[in-house]
């Protein structure tokens, strides 16, 4: 039996909490709840509270949808909840946190690879032209 989606887990006031992604989709269809749980608890166990959702598959408008309950996130941050890196990245892109270093790193790496690919293509075209001449 799968655990309920939100708000049924027991929790202790002084235990460390973490805000993390919890996979709820089925095979080949990822979907995540952004939930707050105990830091040492498994993802398959009931969570303390659901704070949002994240759909990583682009929809018809080429959007990846994220929903956040900012008020409750603020509340849990005030309580000292940790934030897992993927969620921190999402918060950074949402403008709630500063942009995560990993986002910057992925961006510049992607830029570099695309530039390299473009350069390679140009070279190939040039080589073809010279061969034709």
């Amino acid at each position: 039996m799968l655990p309920p989606a939100s708000g049924t887990g027991k929790f202790y006031a002084k235990a460390a909490k973490s805000i993390r992604l919890i996979r709820q989709g089925c095979t080949n269809r990822p979907f995540f709840h952004i939930s707050v749980t105990h830091r040492k608890r498994l993802n398959s166990q009931p969570v303390i509270e659901q704070l949002g959702s994240y759909d990583p598959m682009p929809n018809v408008h080429n959007e990846k949808l994220v929903a956040l309950n900012l008020e409750r996130i603020k509340y849990w941050l005030g309580k000292g909840a940790h934030v897992s890196p993927p969620v921190a990245e999402l918060f950074g892109l949402a403008g709630f946190f500063p942009i995560h270093p990993r986002s910057y790193m992925n961006a510049w790496r992607n830029r570099k690879t695309t530039q390299e690919n473009i350069a390679k293509q140009m070279e190939e075209e040039k080589a073809k032209e010279t061969a034709n001449l």
């Binding site: 398959s44 509340y75 941050l77 005030g78 000292g80 790193m105």
Partner: protein, 213 residues
Amino acid sequence: MISQNVFLKRSWPMLVQCAEAHRKPRWLPVAKSKIYRIPKRPVVSEEERLELLRINNNYKTQMRAIRRFYYEEMIKEKSTKESASSEMSIRLEAEDWARCVELNEKWNAEVAAEREERRKIQLAEMEEYALAHMEVKDRELKERIEKATKEIKRQKELSETFITPENLDEAIEYAIANPTDYNYAIDLRGKKYVGTETPGSLPKDEKRTNSSV
């Protein structure tokens, strides 16, 4: 004191559905084909490393500030909640409540007016429908009565020829005097021969009658 129930009752079953059940169990050795495989280490250039270090440090500093901000906000909120029972806040709350009640009543009045209008329209519609229905029913009833009177008239006209106890003897006598034969036969061509006596058998009968005579 910790009650015994804490140890006896488990709030969550120990056997939990493992998220990564498709992986190799921890106690199995490395596969034979993978013994001498050395995974390639990611290469991070010095430049990139320094840049990452810088932005990570920045990020950590900013995050620390944000965390402290929310923590302080939480503390502030707590303190305001504790001091919320002062007279000022009570008065403010009462004012707010009165304002809310007024607004609610206004909305209720608006909705009531709308409802009244809607109900009037609905009542008119229902009346119209009922009248139309009654008219149709009346017409149907009239038609039925007409039909019935026609039938009664026809039956009365027919009743002159009915056989009653008074004219029963007459009818019997008339029937005996005028016997009707409904028998008939058909040949292969479908020709109809009325009566019990067919043309083919007629000569025989004649012979018989002749002989008897």
